[in-house]
Amino acid sequence: MDNEILKITNLKRIFRVGNEDVHALNGVTFSIERGEFVSIMGTSGSGKSTLLNILGCLDRPSAGEYCIDGVAVSTLSKKELSTLRNRKIGFVFQNYNLLARTTAIENVELPLMYNSQVSSKERRERAIEALVAVGLENRLMHMPNQMSGGQQQRVAIARALVNDPVILLADEATGNLDTRTSYEIMSLFQDLHDKGKTIAFVTHEPDIAVFTTRTIKLRDGNIIEDVPVEMQSAALALQNYKEFKI
C-alpha cells in the first residue's frame, strides 16, 4: 500500500458535445506503484490523453475516485490542484511546448518559478542538474530553435524532472521523433526509471511500449488489457539500429 503512487477507481469522463454525451472514459480502475514504467496504449480516440490529463490533475473526472501520493484529488480546490501539479507531477508533451526564444536553462527553471520555497540560486542549480541528467550539459544557453527535436524533448524532460515529481506523465513523447531519436529518448526514460522514477507513458506504437514494464490497453474508454511487459533495453535497440540500418 505504501508503494502506491496513484490509484483510480471506476473513473469516468463524459464530454457533452451538443446533445450527445461522449464517454471518453467509461469506468477505469487501476493503480500504479512506485518505480513502475507504465505504457498506456490504444487506438486514436480510445481515451488515452483524457486519462493522462486526469492523472495530471489538469482535468477532473465526471465520476470515480483519484488518489495521488495519498491525496484525494476530488477534494482539492483549483489553487491546490495547481500547487499539486507544481510539486508532484512532471509533464512531457508530444510537441515539447518549450517557450520560444528562451534558453534551455530558463525553460527548465520555469516550474520552480512557481514555487516560492525555491531560491533563485537553488533554482538555477537544480535546472543545471536536470539538464545534465538528460545529457544536455553542453546546451544550457541554447534556444529551442537552435536545437534538434530530440534535444528539445530532452529539455522538456529536464523541465518535467526539475521539481522531482512523484510521477512523470508523457503523452506521445516520441510522436514527433524519428525511430533513432525515439530510441534515444526511450533510453533516457529507462535511465530515469532505473534511478527510481515512476513513469506513465502514452503511446500507440507497440515497438515503443516494449521498453516499459507494464502496458495498459484502452479501447473506447475501457481497459481491455493490463499486463506486465518484459522490458527490453532501448540502449541496445539503439545500438542495433545504428549497426544495421545506417
Binding site: 489538469l58 495547481s82 501539479r85
Partner: protein, 406 residues
Amino acid sequence: MNILSLIRIAIRALMRNKKRAGLTMLGIIIGIASVIAMVSLGQSSTLSVREQLSGMGSNMIMIMPARQMRGGVNMGSASAQSLDMRDLNALEQNTRYVANVSPLVNSSAQLVFGSNNHPGSIQGVAPSYLNIRMYKLESGIMFTDEDVKKYNKVCVIGKTVVENLFKNGENPIGQVVRFGSIPMKVIGVLEAKGQNQMGQDQDDVVLVPYTTVQKRFMAINHFNMLFASATSEEESEYAATEITYILRSNHKIAPGAEDDFEIRTQEELLTTMSSVTQLLTVLLAAIASISLIVGGIGIMNIMYVTVTERTKEIGLRMAIGAQNRDIMLQFLSESVILSLIGGLIGIILGLILSYLLSYVLKWPFVVSQTAILVSFLVCAATGIFFGWYPAKKAANMDPIAALRYE
C-alpha cells in the same frame, strides 16, 4: 512568483515585439505628452497673466458708475453720470489709504500729423494717472495740474501712436498733432508696455488733461471712471472700503440702498482672470485625456492579441503549476509596464514641448509636479484598467484547451 521576476518576464516579453510595443506605447506617449504640455501651458499663462496684471499696478483700484436699470433695462455703465468733480475732490482730500486718484474721461478722434493719420483712443486723466497705471515716460514730460486747470491742449502719447503718426522718424516732442479739428502739442512719449492679457495694445494711447477732454472735446462734467491707487497692495481692501464710504455719503445713498458705483481692486481681477485660465487648463487637460483613453484602448487591443498568441504558453504555465493569479499578474504587469514606459516618454516629451511653446510665446516655463505625478498614476491606472480584461481572459483559460490551441 515575486515582483522582480514578474517585471523581468514582462520586459522580456515586450522586447520580443519591440515594434509592436513601441507603436502601442505611442498612444500613451501622445496622450501623456499632450496632458503635460496643456497643463504646463495653462499654468504658464496663469503666471503670465499675474505678471502682467501686477505690471499694471497691483494696488490699482477702479471705480466706475454702476449699471443703471431703467424699467428693467440694463442701460450699461457708460450711460451713468454718477462720478464727478466732487467725488474726485473728496477722494483726494479725505482719505487715508488712497495714495493717488485720477479721473478717466474717454474720447476718440482721428489723429492727423502731416499726411499720416491714426484713429486715436483719447484718455482724459490727471497727472497722477502715470503712477497709478505704472506708465513711464520715455522722453518729454507729463502734463501738470496747471495744464489741467487751464484745459491746455497738450498730450502724452504711446509708442504705437508715435509709429503711426511720425513715420519719417521725426522727434514727436514739440510737434503739433490735430485731433479732428483741435491742434494738440505733444509733450511726452510713454515707454512701450506691449499687449495686455486681453490682447489690447497698451501703447495705442493718448493721454490728455481730463479737463481738456471734458470741455473741449465732449462738453460734459462727469467722469467715465476714477482710477485710484491704494497706499500699498495689502491696504487695497481698506482703500476700497474707504472709497465706498466717501462716495456713498457724497451721493447721499440711504443705508441699505445699493451703491450707484462699482469698485474693482486689482486683486479681484487677478482672481477672475486666474479662474478663467484655470478653467481653460482643465478643459485642455480633459481634451488631452481623451487621447489617453484612446491610448489605453490600444493597449487593451494589443494585450488581447498577445494573450491569444500565447495561448499555448499559458496552457503550459498552468500545467506546470502556475495559478490563475500568476497568469493574471504576468499579463497585467506587461500592460502596466507598457503604459508606464509610454508615460515616462510622454512626460519627457510633454516637458520639452511645453518648454518650446512657452519659449515661443514668451511665457514663463512652469513644470507642474502635480501633473507629472498624476500622469504617472494615471498611466499605471490605464495599464491596470485596460490590461485587466485581457489578463482575466488569459487567467480563466482551460489549460487543456490552451495546450491544444494551434
